[in-house]
């Protein structure tokens, strides 16, 4: 077990380095630069531009800048926003808090609804109820997130005036974005739950357990649920990681100040330190979450540790 962990951590290192390079490369490849954004229509004369570029450290060749940046990151200095001079790490953590709240609420709702629907669907396989629920599940994850979000705003904010359409404040600001995300995820969870349960229910060990005369409760808890929940839990874990990476589109639609929106805004204003710092943070969070999920999965299923040795599956 420890060996597997060490192996995965070792694999994570080049991944992170590669990610930094990719992110930094993309950020610098963007046309225009923050100086352009700062000055707008008043393009600065060459001397002013030169001076500013020196201030911002943009005048050296790309590779040198990359290594300077790398060194700084490792020593903990993630730079400051070009526009607000706020340290990037602080800024990112602040926004991450918002994203975290949204993620928790969305996953909670999605899991509750998805599990219930999937379970009901599996138990009533092929009945009209099942068909309807399956329809609803597929509908859920076919929804374009930005459209659904706008519709929810139209209904709950504009027409009914019940919930605020944007920003962050109290619980009411979380509801609509969370509902939007939850619709999508619950659809997938429902489908997965149904599939997983049905798969397990028809497996031999369940029929054997029943044949052995074990009570239904035991059959369900020890055999069915325990096995069926594994892939579901894995999926939820992975989704959690993805959402923590900032559901950029949802956050934009609802002007919710999370990590996703922070990076999108930074891309548009060419705030390089925030782009790179923000994306790096997101990548690390996702890698950690994936690692944790894989660890749990490996713990539950020993075969994984051996099969997956050495590469990513």
């Amino acid at each position: 077990m420890r060996g597997y962990l060490a192996k995965r951590l070792l694999q994570a290192a080049p991944t992170i380095l590669g990610s930094i390079l990719l992110v930094y490369g993309i950020a610098r490849a963007l046309p225009g630069d923050p100086i352009t954004v700062m000055f707008g229509e008043l393009e600065p004369p060459p001397e002013v531009r030169e001076e500013l570029e020196k201030h911002l450290g943009l005048d050296q060749p790309f590779i040198i800048q990359y290594f300077i940046y790398l060194r700084r990151i490792i020593s903990g200095d993630w730079g400051k926003s070009i526009f607000t001079a706020e340290p990037v790490l602080e800024f990112t953590l602040r926004r991450f808090q918002a994203t975290f709240e949204l993620t928790i609420l969305s996953i909670a709702i999605a899991s509750a609804v998805g599990l219930a629907v999937g379970f009901a669907s599996a138990m009533r396989r092929d009945t009209p109820t099942d068909k309807v629920l399956r329809l609803a599940s597929t509908a859920g994850f076919s929804m374009p997130v930005f459209w659904w979000g706008l519709l929810l705003i139209l209904l709950f904010s504009v027409q009914l005036g019940l919930l605020p359409p944007m920003g962050r404040g109290g619980f009411q600001h979380l509801v609509l974005p969370a509902l939007t995300l939850a619709t999508f995820i619950s659809g997938m969870i429902a489908r997965l739950t149904r599939a997983s349960m049905l798969e397990v229910l028809t497996q031999d060990h369940v029929t054997t357990a029943r044949a052995k005369g074990l009570s239904e409760t035991v059959v369900w808890t020890k055999h069915v649920l325990r096995n069926a929940l594994i892939p579901i839990a894995t999926f939820v874990g992975l989704q959690f990681g993805t959402l923590l990476g900032g559901a950029a589109i949802t956050e934009t639609v609802f002007a919710y100040p999370g990590v996703g929106k922070m990076v999108v805004d930074a891309i548009f204003t060419r705030d390089y330190p925030v782009i790179v710092g923000g994306l790096l943070f997101v990548v690390i969070v996702i890698l950690i979450t994936n690692l944790i999920v894989d660890m749990i999965y490996a713990f539950i299923d020993p075969r994984v540790r051996y099969e997956r040795a050495g590469s990513y599956a």
Binding site: T138, A139, S142, P144, F146, M188, A248, I249, I267, A313
Partner: protein, 298 residues
């Protein structure tokens, strides 16, 4: 949406044979009302895309400021947008955009991902390590950011957006194919091929690959749906199709300021997107059920 390896398995081998029997396929695909509907939508898109110019009542790009933001009426069954253009006509022409995005993203992602997956799964070693790290890097980026960044760098256009989406989807195929190759590698038919002197390339492409077509096709269907939604999402952020291209996502972007005064301009193109995504997802599920009767349970 990404399916796990366990789900897809190599039951896809059966698919190629069954697909060959068109009548049987069609009958299966239209068995339930839902799947029939989905199939009809898919066919409908193809038809509309090819006959768009004939079928549309109005032009999709000529602006008429006097008719801005009119709600659905007899003359304009779906209303007009913020430049007075008929929404129905724009939606019809938008099917072309759909087809373009689906096919181009597949053209980019599929060959790239499949070849890399074959190579890294078959040969293993250093190639595999490097390839796996690349997959890791690309997959740990939320797709939105990756595509957004690529498009911002290359300049906003439908072509670039599709390219970016293709690039971000390649790792999915790569991982899928690689996993499949890893398990196929040990099978008898591969050993036999080697025994009679077949080289690596020949084994990969002539023997292993055909057995993978099933899962690949299913994954491709879901990825195509995801590609359309991603393209729409990118356009929604302002980085996608250029005007006057009637990309449904761009229509939402242009009309979102009018959410309160003319919601139909947002609701209707979005509804079209939803219906198409739903149909394609259902279609993909039907295809997958078709692969193996036991899978029909799911």
């Amino acid at each position: 949406m990404r399916l796990s390896i366990q789900e897809l398995d190599t039951k896809g081998r059966v698919l190629m044979h069954r697909l060959g029997d068109t009548v049987e396929t069609l009958r299966f695909l239209t068995k339930s009302r839902i799947s029939a509907f989905a199939f009809a939508v898919v066919v409908g898109i193809l038809v509309l895309a090819t006959t768009a110019d004939l079928v549309s009542p109005y032009s999709y790009h000529v602006a008429d400021l006097a008719k801005r933001l009119m709600p659905p009426s007899l003359h304009h069954p779906l209303g007009t947008d913020q430049l007075g253009r008929d929404i129905l006509s724009r939606i019809i022409h938008g099917t072309r955009v759909l087809l373009y995005v689906m096919s181009m993203s597949l053209l980019v992602a599929l060959p790239l991902g499949t070849v890399l997956g074959l190579l890294s799964g078959f040969y293993g070693g250093v190639i595999d390590h490097v390839a796996s790290r690349i997959i890791d890097i690309l997959l740990s980026f939320p797709t939105v950011f990756l595509a957004l960044a690529i498009v911002a760098v290359m300049g906003p256009s439908l072509e670039n957006a599709t390219l970016a989406i293709g690039i971000s989807q390649a790792p999915i195929y790569m991982r899928l194919v690689r996993g499949q190759v890893l398990s196929e590698r040990e099978r008898l038919y591969v050993e036999s091929a080697r025994a009679i002197g077949a080289g690596g390339g020949r084994i990969m492409f002539r023997h292993i690959l055909p057995n993978l077509t099933g899962p690949i096709i299913v994954q491709a269907t879901f990825n195509a749906t995801a590609a359309i939604i991603s393209a729409a999402a990118l356009s929604f952020l302002g980085l996608g199709a250029q005007p006057p291209t009637p990309c449904w996502g761009a229509m939402l972007y242009e009309a979102k300021d009018y959410l309160r005064t003319a919601p139909h301009a947002i609701a209707l193109p979005g509804l079209a997107l939803f219906i198409v995504a739903y149909a394609l997802n259902t279609f993909g599920e039907a295809l997958r059920d078709y692969m193996d009767p036991r899978m029909k349970l799911l």
